[in-house]
């Protein structure tokens, strides 16, 4: 009989989580856990600070996705001060945000997650990295990736100041308007971005989709969960990264809920487990039924595949074509965790196309980019789709705008229930007879790397290394091995 191992919560000093694998006497995995810390420390830190400082402060939570926090925070301030930004400001914010989405997704596709497929999930550890990717796709492609990321980042600096910690969004608008010179450059960059995103889809098709072994892996039971999916959609239920309503579909793809972010607490509740500090969000109306998938379980997912599952389509034509192609092959909704990479590439295309559309929109040259707030603040809630999923910032302040309470619901928190399922299922499916080799461990890691988990920067993982320590226990609780 399986003995439940209760693991003491990780300390703040350990900081960045671990995987725990429990083996029975035959050496088969009977249970696997994933532990990561949460952001409560940050929320406490926010108390007593001026809300208007939050876009700069929260952007420091994560060096990988600062723009997502910056934008969610800025939108929360719009709401806090009851001020609607001018059209130009909204469009420039969306443009800026799509630049970030393109750049961040490219980071994951080529550097963080892509090597699993481009180089191969069971390739030698020393080759399963970005250098291995370059060996496989060629130096010219590598230079193209680095060059595109650099161009995007330089443009973001021109529009918003620092890339990593932008000084861009302010309540009611943005800090400065665009000029014709920047817009001219943006138009060129928009064309390049679309070409780059389509090129990435071609790379993905040539290397991943044309390889039956990889396709079998993507659609294998080890990486499949039938859960609910959540994402922001526009008025036509198409994917939108910057704004919209939160839509949830059930495991059959049927709309389950659609709500404004102000109602998020009516739809999302949190479950606590004794072995981790992390709360497990679930759909309130379904309830917490444990670590199981299916229509009766409130576990849901965010992130690229969830966004596409939760929408009726993409907002731009080339992305829509790619979207239709994916679902024709996988069915909709797609429950395959590893299809997250494919969805990410499709989102790169939408981001690039939106950059091009907005760069050619004459409204972005309007010099009126801010409505100065005058209302007395009380509560502000903002939402964006971070690259890794729905990101909600919620502030409550006194009448001076000093924060009394803050709540940040980040993508990795939404996903943690499904990530736990993914690691457990992958480990049970792959680890048999006491064989725990590097290739198998990488395939377990792939289960969570697909989500690109991100919690206070801690869990971004580079293939080719074990990003979090793996603890292997016997059923009796004896620690057999720790792999760093």
């Amino acid at each position: 009989m399986t003995k439940e191992i209760v693991i003491d919560p990780i300390t703040r000093l350990e900081g960045h989580g671990k995987i725990i694998i429990v083996l029975n006497d035959n050496g088969d995995c009977v249970r696997a856990f994933f532990q990561i810390p949460e952001l409560r420390g940050f929320e406490k830190f926010a108390e007593g600070r001026h809300a208007e400082d939050m876009p700069q402060i929260t952007s420091r939570i994560c060096g990988v996705c600062p723009t997502a926090h910056h934008m969610a925070s800025t939108k929360a301030l719009d709401d806090l001060y009851k001020v609607d930004p001018p059209v130009a400001a909204k469009k420039i914010r969306e443009l800026f945000y799509n630049l970030f989405m393109l750049e961040d997704h490219a980071l994951h596709v080529y550097i963080l997650g892509g090597p699993d497929f481009i180089v191969g999930p069971d390739a030698p550890k020393e080759e399963r990295n970005v250098v291995g990717v370059i060996k496989k796709v060629g130096q010219e492609v590598g230079l193209k990736v680095i060059g595109m990321r650099k161009s995007v980042r330089q443009m973001m600096e021109k529009i918003g100041g620092k890339v990593i910690h932008p000084v861009f969004g302010v309540p009611g608008g943005i800090s400065k308007p665009l000029n014709e010179e920047i817009v001219k450059e943006l138009k060129v960059l928009g064309d390049q971005a679309v070409e780059f995103a389509q090129f990435t889809l071609k790379v993905f098709k040539d290397i991943v989709l044309s390889n039956k072994k990889y396709l079998d892996l993507i659609t294998s039971e080890a990486y499949t969960h039938r859960t609910y999916y959540m994402g922001l959609v526009d008025s036509k239920n198409r994917v939108n990264f910057y704004d919209g309503m939160i839509r949830v579909v059930d495991p059959n793809g049927k709309e389950f809920a659609k709500f404004d972010v102000h109602e998020y607490t009516e739809h999302i509740a949190e479950h606590v487990e004794p072995w981790t500090y992390m709360d497990f969000p679930y759909l309130k109306k379904i309830g917490w039924k444990g670590f199981v998938d299916g229509e009766q379980s409130g576990i849901y997912s965010v992130a690229p595949l969830a966004r596409l599952n939760a929408a009726d389509g993409m907002a731009t034509p080339l992305a829509q074509e790619a979207y239709e192609e994916m679902y024709e092959m996988l069915g909709k909704p797609a429950h395959y965790t590893l299809a997250m990479h494919w969805a990410r590439v499709i989102e790169m295309i939408q981001a690039a196309e939106r950059i091009k559309e907005l760069a050619n929109d004459p409204d972005i040259l309007d010099q009126n980019v801010r409505n100065v707030p005058t209302a007395t603040p009380s509560v502000g809630i903002g939402v964006v789709e971070a690259p890794r999923g729905t990101l909600i910032h919620h502030y409550e302040t006194d009448e001076r705008g000093v924060i009394r309470r803050a709540n940040l619901l980040v993508a990795t928190q939404h996903n943690i229930g499904r990530i736990t399922l993914s690691i457990d299922k992958a480990a049970r499916s792959l680890i048999k007879g006491g064989v725990v080799n590097d290739g198998l461990l990488n395939m377990v890691e792939m289960a969570f790397r697909a989500y690109d988990p991100c919690n206070a920067c801690g869990t971004h993982s580079l293939p080719g290394s074990v990003p979090v320590p793996i603890y292997i226990y016997s059923e009796s609780g004896e620690l057999l091995r720790v792999i760093h």
Binding site: R12, V130, I164, H165, G458
Partner: protein
């Protein structure tokens, strides 16, 4: 001209130490002929700064004791000291990437680690560490001069 990169995260109580030291030393080092950048960036984005330079010194926190300043010449050994932070999650890989792309790689890349006990907690700098910032900056300055003179 050697480039000195001071790294850290200003939201974190102790991980901000590289930034604080950088602020103290920036003017002095620039007057001595060094190029100085104070950044809150992660591994791969450092490529834009590192590629094409002759020599680079990276100053950031490592897990250790307050007041400790440690010169690390072998980047592969850096993981043993480094906090698990994306600041360095990609630095050795970033250098490998520069090599793989045949971009100009600096002849010397060194890390100057500043000891902190807890690089992960958000908050104000602990008074004990804050009281030593000036001394730490002097140690860092001496090390930089020793290395490059």
């Amino acid at each position: 001209m050697p480039l000195i990169l001071f790294l850290g995260n200003s939201l974190y109580a102790e991980d901000r130490i590289g930034l604080l030291v950088g602020e103290i030393l920036k003017g002095r080092l620039e007057a001595e002929g060094f190029e100085v950048e104070i950044l809150e960036r992660i591994g791969y984005s450092l490529i834009d700064y590192i590629a094409g330079k002759d020599s680079v010194m990276i100053v950031d926190s490592i897990i250790g004791e307050y007041g400790e300043v440690k010169l690390i010449e072998d980047l592969k050994s850096f993981a043993a000291f480094s906090p698990k932070s994306p600041h360095y999650a990609g630095l050795p890989e970033a250098i490998e990437l520069i090599k793989a792309l045949n971009l100009p790689l600096p002849e010397r890349i060194l890390v100057l680690g500043i000891g902190v006990r807890d690089p992960y907690s958000i908050g104000e700098i602990p008074p004990e560490l804050n009281a030593r910032v000036g001394d730490i900056a002097e140690k860092v300055h001496r090390e930089i001069r020793n290395v490059f003179n």
